[in-house]
Amino acid sequence: MDIKSMKNYLYWLYCQFELITCSYLMEPWEKLLFYTFNITMLVMVLYMAYIFVPVHITMAFQFFLHLFGNQHENTVSIVK
C-alpha cells in the first residue's frame, strides 16, 4: 500500500514537471529531444559535483583551520 501511494505520488510529481516545462504539449520526438538534453545536463552537473565538491570542501576546511589556528596560538601565548 505504501509502495502504491509512493508510486502515485511520484507519477503526480512527474505530471507536474511535464506541465511546468510544457513537455505535456510536445510531440513524442520533441519530448525525447527535451528529456535527452535535460538528463544529459543533469548527469554532467552531478558528475562535476562528484569530482570537484570534495576537493573544494577540503580546501575550504584547511583555509578556515589556518585562520583559527593562528588565533589559537596568540591566545595561548597571552595566557602564559
Binding site: L19, I20, T21, C22, S23, Y24, L25, E30
Partner: protein, 513 residues
C-alpha cells in the same frame, strides 16, 4: 477617501490577487521552452525537413514583405496549434445548462480534426453567456417565437430605413425603453455592430474619447473608426480617469489648445475577461463635475445585475438619466441576438437617421425580436410566470464564487459578477484544464494570449440561472479534483488592497444644480 464612501450604497468587493512570484517565473520558463521548440520547428519547416501545414506565401512572393513573421503568427503556429482542441468545439444542441457536443479526434496534433461520429451528451455548460437561462428549446419564449416565425417568416430583406421597419421593431423599442427607464431606445441586428457603427455617429474629429484599458474590441473599433482622439485610463481606476479629464479640460486639443468639442467616457458594465464591475457612482460624479458624456456598454450586465435585472445602473441604485448613452446586447441574458442603444429622445432620433447600422445593416429578424420581447416581459414579471431568474443567478454567483475561493483558487473580479475567471497562468495547464474538464463532462472556456496578457491565462466560467445547485456541486467537485491534479490552487489569501492611490486624492464635489 471619506467622500467616495457616500457614493456607494452597498459594499464594493473587488479583488485581483497578485500573481505569486514562483508561478510567474515558472510560466516564463514554460513559454521559454515552447519558444525554443517553436524556433526549432520553424527551422525544420523552412528547410523542408518537416511538412509545412500552415499558411505560407507562394514561391513567387518569397521576396516580398513577409506576411507570417510577426509574433502573433509565430504564437499561432507553435503554441496555439498545440492546444487548439479546447476551442471551436462543435455543439449540437441548444446551449442551455447542459449541452451535447460532437466528439472529434486529431491524428496529426491538432492540424486537422475528424469526427468519430459519437455525440457526448449532457455536458454541464459553464461557458455559454446564458445568464438568465433563456437558451431553451421549449417554453413560452420558444412558442411565441415559433408563432411569429410562421406569421412573418425569418428574413427581413431590408434595412431599417428602407423596408425593414416592422411593427415588431417598434414594439420592441418601446419595451426596451420602458425596461431601462429611458425615454427612447433603438435596436440593431448585431451587438458588435451596435458599438462599432454608432460611436462614429456620436463623436468625430475634434472630440476626445476616454476609454478603459480593457474595453471590448467593438468599443475600440468604434472609437478608432470615429476619428476622435483616444486616451486610455487604467482599468477601473478613477484617479487615472480624473487626471485625464483634468488634463483635457486644462490643456484642450493638442496643437491648437482649443477646447474639446465633446468628451466621451467609454466604460463597460461588467468586463468579461476580469469579472470586474465598473465603479459607476464615481464615474458619474466625475462626468458631472467635468461636464463630459458617458457611454455605458452593458453587454454582460443587463439582466444579470440589479435586484430586478435592470443592469448595473440599478445595481448601484442610480438613475438611468445620469448615463447619456446606455448600450447593451440581447445576446447574453435574453437568449437572442442583436443590440440596443437607449437614451434621450433627441439622441435616439438622431441615431435613427445618422447611424451606419440603421442605414446599411439589415434589421433584426422577427422570431428573434419576439424572443427578446417575451424574455424581457418574463424578467419584468409581466407575463404571469413568476420564475425568479435574477435571484437564482445572484444566489448561484455568490455560492460558486465563495466555494471556489474557499478551495484556494485565484479568482478575479467582483463578488457579484456572474463571470468567474479562474487563473491558470501556465500554457500547458490551459490545454490540460480544458481536456480534463471535458473528460469529466464539463465544458469550460479557457482563454490565453492574445485575449489576456501573456502570463495571465485563465478559465472563464459563466454562471446561469438555469444551473441547479446539484449541477454546480458536481462542477465544483470536478474543479476541485482537476485543481488538485494540476496544482492550480495558488491562492495565498493575500488580497491586493483595492484603494491603492498612486495619484492625488480625488475630489467629488456635489454639483451646483
Amino acid at each position: 477617501y471619506m467622500k467616495t464612501d457616500r457614493l456607494y450604497k452597498r459594499p464594493f468587493n473587488e479583488a485581483f490577487e497578485e500573481t505569486p512570484m514562483l508561478v510567474a517565473v515558472l510560466t516564463y520558463v514554460g513559454y521559454g521552452v515552447l519558444t525554443l521548440f517553436g524556433y526549432l520547428r520553424d527551422f525544420m519547416r523552412q528547410w523542408k525537413i518537416e511538412k509545412c501545414q500552415n499558411a505560407t506565401e507562394r514561391e513567387e512572393q518569397k521576396d516580398f514583405v513577409p506576411l507570417y513573421q510577426d509574433f502573433e503568427n509565430f504564437y499561432n503556429r507553435n503554441l496555439y496549434m498545440r492546444i487548439r482542441d479546447s476551442w471551436n468545439r462543435p455543439i449540437c444542441s441548444v446551449p442551455g445548462a447542459k449541452v451535447d457536443m460532437m466528439e472529434r479526434v486529431s491524428h496529426d496534433y491538432n492540424w486537422t480534426f475528424t469526427y468519430t461520429g459519437r455525440v457526448i451528451k449532457d455536458i454541464i455548460n459553464m461557458g455559454s453567456y446564458n445568464y438568465l437561462g433563456f437558451a431553451q428549446k421549449a417554453g413560452t419564449c420558444q412558442q411565441a417565437a415559433a408563432k411569429v416565425l410562421s406569421q412573418y417568416g425569418a428574413g427581413v430583406c431590408s434595412t431599417r430605413q428602407e423596408m425593414g421597419n416592422l411593427d415588431k421593431h417598434e414594439e420592441l423599442e418601446k419595451l426596451v425603453a420602458r425596461f431601462l427607464g429611458v425615454e427612447s431606445a433603438m435596436a440593431y441586428g448585431m451587438g458588435f455592430a451596435t458599438n462599432s457603427m454608432n460611436i462614429p455617429a456620436l463623436v468625430g474629429k475634434g472630440c476626445l474619447i476616454l476609454s478603459d484599458e480593457l474595453n471590448h474590441a467593438s468599443l475600440v473599433l468604434g472609437a478608432r473608426l470615429s476619428g476622435a482622439t483616444i486616451r486610455i485610463f487604467k482599468h477601473n481606476n478613477m484617479q487615472s480617469l480624473e487626471k485625464l479629464l483634468k488634463d483635457a479640460i486644462v490643456h484642450g486639443q493638442p496643437r491648437t489648445r482649443r477646447p474639446w468639442k465633446k468628451i466621451l467616457i467609454l466604460v463597460e458594465g461588467i468586463y468579461s475577461m476580469e469579472g470586474s464591475i465598473v465603479r459607476l457612482p464615481e464615474v458619474i460624479a466625475l462626468k458631472k463635475k467635468y461636464k463630459s458624456y458617458l457611454y455605458l456598454d452593458e453587454a454582460h450586465s443587463i439582466g444579470a445585475l440589479g435586484p430586478s435585472g435592470r443592469g448595473v445602473v440599478e445595481y448601484f441604485g442610480l438613475s438611468p438619466e445620469d448615463v447619456d448613452v446606455m448600450m447593451g446586447t440581447f445576446t447574453k441574458s435574453f437568449g437572442a441576438a442583436g443590440g440596443y442603444i437607449g437614451g434621450k429622445k433627441e439622441l435616439i432620433d438622431y441615431l435613427r437617421t445618422y447611424s451606419h447600422s440603421a442605414v446599411y445593416a439589415t434589421s433584426l429578424s422577427p422570431p428573434v425580436v419576439e424572443q427578446i420581447i417575451t424574455s424581457m416581459k418574463c424578467i419584468m414579471g409581466e407575463d404571469g410566470t413568476n420564475v425568479a431568474r435574477v435571484q437564482q443567478l445572484a444566489e448561484n454567483t455568490r455560492y460558486f464564487r465563495r466555494r471556489l475561493k474557499e478551495m484556494g483558487f485565484i479568482i478575479y473580479g467582483n463578488e457579484d459578477s456572474p463571470v468567474v475567471p479562474l487563473m491558470l497562468y501556465m500554457p500547458a495547464k490551459i490545454g490540460a484544464f480544458g481536456r480534463e474538464m471535458l473528460k469529466r463532462n464539463i465544458g469550460v472556456v479557457v482563454v490565453g494570449f492574445p485575449a489576456t496578457p501573456i502570463i495571465e491565462s485563465r478559465a472563464r466560467f459563466c454562471l446561469s440561472a438555469a444551473h441547479t445547485k446539484e449541477m454546480l456541486d458536481t462542477a465544483l467537485k470536478e474543479i476541485n479534483e482537476v485543481g488538485d491534479l494540476l496544482q492550480l490552487k495558488y491562492s495565498r489569501h493575500r488580497l491586493v488592497p483595492l484603494l491603492d492611490r498612486p495619484f492625488d486624492e480625488t475630489t467629488y464635489e456635489e454639483t451646483e444644480d
